[in-house]
Symmetry: C2
Subunit: 435 residues, 2 copies
Amino acid sequence: MEKNYSTQMEAAKMGIVTPEMKIVAKKEYRTEEEIRELVAQGKVTICANKNHKCLDPEGVGSMLRTKINVNLGVSRDCKDYDIEMKKVQAAVDMGAEAIMDLSSHGNTIPFRRKLTSECPAMIGTVPVYDSVIHYQRDLATLTAKDLIDVVRLHAEDGVDFVTLHCGITRHTIDQIKKHKRKMNIVSRGGSLIFAWMCMTGNENPFYEYYDEILDICREYDVTISLGDACRPGCLADASDVCQIEELVRLGELTKRAWAKDVQVMVEGPGHMPMDQIEANMKIQQSICMGAPFYVLGPLVTDIAPGYDHITSAIGGAIAAASGAAFLCYVTPAEHLALPNVDDVKQGIIASKIAAHAADIAKKIPHAMDRDNEMADARRTFRWDDQWAVSLDPETAKTIRDSRAPEHDDTCSMCGKFCAVRSMNKALEGEYIDIL
Amino acid sequence: MEKNYSTQMEAAKMGIVTPEMKIVAKKEYRTEEEIRELVAQGKVTICANKNHKCLDPEGVGSMLRTKINVNLGVSRDCKDYDIEMKKVQAAVDMGAEAIMDLSSHGNTIPFRRKLTSECPAMIGTVPVYDSVIHYQRDLATLTAKDLIDVVRLHAEDGVDFVTLHCGITRHTIDQIKKHKRKMNIVSRGGSLIFAWMCMTGNENPFYEYYDEILDICREYDVTISLGDACRPGCLADASDVCQIEELVRLGELTKRAWAKDVQVMVEGPGHMPMDQIEANMKIQQSICMGAPFYVLGPLVTDIAPGYDHITSAIGGAIAAASGAAFLCYVTPAEHLALPNVDDVKQGIIASKIAAHAADIAKKIPHAMDRDNEMADARRTFRWDDQWAVSLDPETAKTIRDSRAPEHDDTCSMCGKFCAVRSMNKALEGEYIDIL
């Protein structure tokens, strides 16, 4: 069947309910018309490149279930693609809705194409990373056209969303120098664009040629994830003028994308004290007119390297409960090393916990169903049913089995002091033996 | 020097600044007079039994640094006291301010006395657990006097705070039956009192003989931690009438304790959806007139057994930022097994992260100093200085070293794509080589 629309957003504006919208509506317990209307308004994106044929579509929006993204990809120091495919499998198995391939070494094409031909999750990339690799030329030698051509290549390859740091300009160079942040720019893509501007003397090509980029994205229905180059890299830099000024520009760029029916997500912080998170979410919602907010954290303290899956689970849960739609996972290896398979798993679980806790707080339909099943299974000591509704059944079962209790209606934590056991007996009028 | 006061609170009311208050004032960057006033008002407790001579005193209050507690102790299934002493050492090394000995097997006296004679952290217990063990008689055979005598024994042994479930009464039996909670009562001590009331037909002795208990606590300056028998054991039970009615009674009991100069903490939830946490903290503050709130979680979802250190770090951070003063750690083994030494460590780190993140949000003086040092060390690639201000230096260093990068001014995550490296070079006007 020939499509008579270019993007999900165009279809939505034309009143067409796409097959992807139908699937999203079903998953989210919403009517198809509700989803169509939200996509038309830009409040929900369905990142679905026309060339990603095996995609199981998902909607991203603050009123839907919070989605999570898993970053992976090789680096110069860790370049085994087989390990990366293991991470992909783990991510899909554990319910990640998106995977970003951030590879920065070697021949990146086969892995990217493998992802979009085999993986049902949304696939994202940051084309500027790949540009240096793709041309095998150093950054300063690349032209604006070179950089934009890589965006086109990724679009043709079926990438569903691309992070483009369109929101910084030459003015940002002075801003960063003047403002004397503690961490300057910690966005990898943002720093590359910043470095490119410094070395070439040119304007940010993703800003200067934004209309050309929109045409590419429109053609393949690639969602633009507007990168936040100036996201705070430490608590002290949070909510400063560099960050907020860029956000204002991202709001303008959102409007321009929507005028061409290109779907948009907006990326956000970063490192941030807990008490600033809700305000940041609200400001983004107003400045960017409800475009889905995709947050990288936020990490609520800087002093826990090795545990940044936890610092970001705290921040991510608060962010999502306050309006963020999409959480980028953070692994225990953040700030230290490329994550290994176990780090990826720990990062995914922590993000899933944050997303799920936020969905309950936001009263997303049916979000608490599994929690209620768990409570019933706990009260009645149905251990297998507890594992069945657990986020990670294997780990839970392994812990229990490693220190098995004497009595099966208890665990080794409390033994016969178990409150659940005592209460069940007490409420049945039975004698409660403790000793 | 003979003390002319019985408790820290009495001293404070008399205008006396105790040695303990001086130490707390220094640690908290407050004046001695401020601390004295807060102790007099009951808004800060300094849990300091007169017989705990090696105590390094800490203040617990919502306007002070958030403190954390580590539960340990043997059970019938896990009864090795050497392992428990390893947990004690780990807890003290990692900065836990309190340790609760929840032993429920064997001869509990030597371990408890070892704690109060050697351990500088505040020591807490739940005497009702110990009563069954102490007398080696089953629960139904114990008298009210038996139960109260164990409180006296713990007071004499130097325990700084005791959890007593004074807030449930015979009325609670009907309440729990009528209300049909999913998880009834999950407080171990609460369920024992409930079971005892059901089997004996008597009133809760900790409620009926509360004045006698206050006299014991006054004599040794034992802080009463008013147990929350009806804390929700699943999200569905959160903020229900059972929980709130008990809280109201705990407020009344707080007032009665203060009238006898006995220090009080109030225990709280529990399992709770994120969006209910702040309201619960505010209600406790008003109902209990600012008495420090000691929360057990809150766990923000029920479906993550194996990861409840994370579900409770999210809830604990929000709770502490909203007014809770004291966080009880939760380990990955919660709901599954008695925690082993590594579980204890994971639980402590997660709680410390939650407490620290909340302190920053609450703008506790100097709370963000280490975060700022970390940011400076990160910008300048001073790895050893990063470890020095980390919550767990060894883990952070191990992760980095396990996947060492080719270039020392990078890590294996990004290699020469490192944003910090690129920005440092760009701001110095240097050429940025990426390839």
